[in-house]
Symmetry: C2
Subunit: 338 residues, 2 copies
C-alpha cells in the first residue's frame, strides 16, 4: 500500500477492519449461523427475512438448494445500490473535476457544454446531450498513464465532498449493504461489484470501504494501450466496454466467469443482471433498492436523471425480485459520522 | 458443482485437495515458513533459491521490501508455463475438435484449410496462414450459447488425450509449478493465470487443477452478446480481446487492476507482462521456463511453431529475469500417473 493510499483511507479503515475480523470469526465458530444479528441496520420484515432464508438454504449441507462455496457468487451494482447516486453519479463528478483541472484545449473554449461545466451549470451542460458531454469528459480523462490517472483519482476522493450531504463520497455508502456484504462473505460467498461506472474509479477504495478487492470490481472500461517504448499503460479517449444494461451479464461472464446466485441492483441498468442471475437453475435471489426516502437520502421512485427504475420495478413481481424500501427496510442509511 | 464437472475432475481432484489443505494449514501454523520443503520437485540451485529468497523478503514484516497481502499478485502464463504447449496449443486442439464435430458448412467444403484439418494434416492447414486457420476455427466455435460451449469444452477435456504423451491434457501440468502456486498462496499471494488462450477453455478446470478460481483466470476473449429475448449469452464469431504480447499488461489492468510483483512466462508473448511486472517499484521477480528437456517433455529452446523464446531470452539478463531450466531445475516434470 502506498503512503498516499494510507493517508486517504486511514479515517475509514479502522471500523471496517475491526468489523470484518469479528464477522469472520463469528462465522467460523458457528458455521455461519451467528449468534448476534449480522444485519443490525436492516429492520425486521419480508426483505431481511428473504435474505436470511436464502443464505441459510444455499449454505446448508444436505439442502436440495445447497451451493458449494466456489459457486456462491453475489453481484452488486454500485451507484444507487451500494452508495449514493444523486444528484449525479460520482463518476461524472470525478470526470468533470478532471476536465476543470485540465489545461483548456483550443477546441473547447467556445464549446457550450464546456462553458456550462466550467460555470457549474449542469442543467445546460446536460441539455447538449449525453454524447457531447461524454465526448468532452473522455477527452479530458485520457492521454495520461493509468498510474497517473490512478493518483489523480485518489487525490480527488481525498478532498471531494458530496454537494448536499457534505461528506466524503466514500462515507456515503449504505450501512445495511456493508453489513450484507460482510454477512455474505462470512457465509462463504464471494462478493463482486458489477457497475456501469468504470473500474478505475472504484478499485482504489473498494477494498477498504466494501471489503471487495480490485479484481472483484467489474465495470465499464476505457481503451488502454501498452506503450512498449515507455512501458506505460496509456488511456485512449474511447470506451472499451460498457458494463450496463445487457452489458452486465456480458461483463459478469468476462470478469467472473460464473453466473451469480444473488444479484442486487437499483435501476433498469441492472435488470438484465437480475434476470441473468435469477434465470439460472437452483435457488437464486434478486433484489432491488427502492429510493423512497427523501428525508434520509433521496426519493426518486421510478424516474430521475440517474438510475431510472421503470421496467425493472414492473418486472419484479413476475421474477420474484425483492424490492427493498430504503424508508421501511433500512434502520440506518449511512455509517455514523466519525 | 454440476454432476458432469464432478465426474470430469474426480480423478484429479483428490491429490490436489489433500495437498492444498495441508499446505494451507502448514502456512497458518508457521506463518508461512514451512518446516518441510514446500517445493520438493524443484532441484536446489539458483532458480529455487531466487524464488524462496523473494517470497521471504516480500512477506517479512519490517523488511524494506515488505508487500501487504492485498498487493501480493502473482501472474502465470498458461501454455508452456503451467502445462505442455507442444506439438500445438491445447486451445487449438480443442477448437479443431469443435470444427470436426460441427455440421460442415457449404463454404467450407472446398476450403483447403478445412480439408487439411479434416485429414489431420496440420502442416498443410497451417501453411494457409494463421488468419485462414483462425477464421475457420472462430466460425466453428461460435453461434452457440456460452453455456452450451462450456458443456462441449468439459466433454472434450473428459476424453481428449495428448497425441504423443497419451495422458489427459489436465494431467500434463507441471508438478513444480503446482507446488509453486500452492507455496505462493500459503504465503498470502493471490495467483492468477494470464494466458494468450481464451478464458472459457481454462476456467472449467483451473480451480481443481491449479487452485485458481474462474475470476482469477485472465485470457483472450471472444465477443459475447446477451440476447435479451432468450436470456442467453451468445458467442459471436470475432475476437473481443487478445491477451498476448503487449496485450498482457492491458489484460492484467482490465481483470486484476494491480501490477503483479511476480510474473512467470515462457515465450516472447510473455515478455511485456514480465517487463510490466519487474518495471514496478520495490522488489519484483520475473521468471521464464526454458524448454530444454527433450527426454521428459520437449526441447525447443528459442524456436518452435508455438511459443518462440527469442527476444525474451535475450532480454532476461538485463532485466534480471530468472531463466528456469526444465532439465536442470525440475526434479519431476509432470504429476505421477494415478
Amino acid at each position: 500500500m502506498s503512503a498516499s493510499r494510507q493517508s486517504l483511507w486511514a479515517r475509514v479503515g479502522g471500523w471496517l477492519a475491526a468489523g470484518v475480523v469479528a464477522a469472520t470469526l463469528a462465522g467460523c465458530a458457528t458455521g455461519g449461523n451467528m449468534g448476534t444479528d449480522p444485519l443490525p441496520s436492516w429492520n425486521d420484515g419480508a426483505s431481511k427475512q428473504a435474505i436470511v432464508d436464502f443464505v441459510r438454504d444455499v449454505t446448508k449441507e444436505g439442502s436440495p438448494n445447497y451451493v458449494a462455496p466456489s459457486q456462491r457468487i453475489a453481484t452488486f451494482d454500485n451507484d444507487g445500490t451500494l452508495w449514493v447516486e444523486q444528484p449525479i453519479y460520482t463518476q461524472f463528478a470525478l470526470m468533470i473535476a478532471q476536465l476543470k483541472a485540465a489545461k483548456p484545449r483550443p477546441e473547447w473554449v467556445n464549446n457550450p457544454t464546456y462553458k456550462a461545466l466550467m460555470a457549474d451549470d449542469m442543467k445546460t451542460a446536460m441539455a447538449g446531450g449525453e454524447k457531447a458531454l461524454l465526448g468532452l469528459l473522455f477527452q479530458a480523462n485520457s492521454g495520461m498513464s493509468v498510474d497517473d490517472y490512478d493518483k489523480a483519482i485518489r487525490q480527488w476522493f481525498a478532498t471531494a465532498r458530496h454537494p448536499t450531504l457534505k461528506r466524503p463520497y466514500t462515507e456515503l455508502v449504505y450501512q445495511p449493504q456493508l453489513e450484507l456484504l460482510k454477512y455474505l462473505r462470512a457465509n462463504g460467498f464471494k462478493t463482486f461489484i458489477v457497475s456501469g461506472g468504470t473500474m478505475e474509479a472504484m478499485r482504489p477504495w473498494a477494498e477498504e470501504v466494501y471489503g471487495i478487492p480490485p479484481e472483484q470490481v467489474v465495470g465499464s472500461s476505457q481503451t488502454i494501450k501498452y506503450d512498449v517504448a515507455t512501458g506505460k499503460l496509456m488511456r485512449e479517449p474511447s470506451l472499451f466496454f460498457l458494463d450496463d444494461g445487457p452489458g452486465k451479464p456480458v461483463g459478469i461472464n468476462l470478469h467472473i466467469g460464473q453466473r451469480p446466485i444473488l444479484a442486487f441492483g437499483n435501476s433498469d441498468g441492472d435488470m438484465h443482471m437480475l434476470k441473468y442471475t435469477t434465470d439460472g437453475p437452483g435457488r437464486r435471489l434478486g433484489l432491488i433498492v427502492h429510493h423512497d426516502d427523501a428525508q434520509r437520502e433521496f426519493a426518486y421512485d421510478r424516474q430521475s436523471s440517474m438510475g431510472k427504475l421503470d421496467k425493472a420495478l414492473d418486472q419484479a413481481p413476475a421474477n420474484k425480485w425483492i424490492v427493498v424500501s430504503m424508508k421501511k427496510d433500512w434502520k440506518q442509511v449511512f455509517p455514523s459520522a466519525k
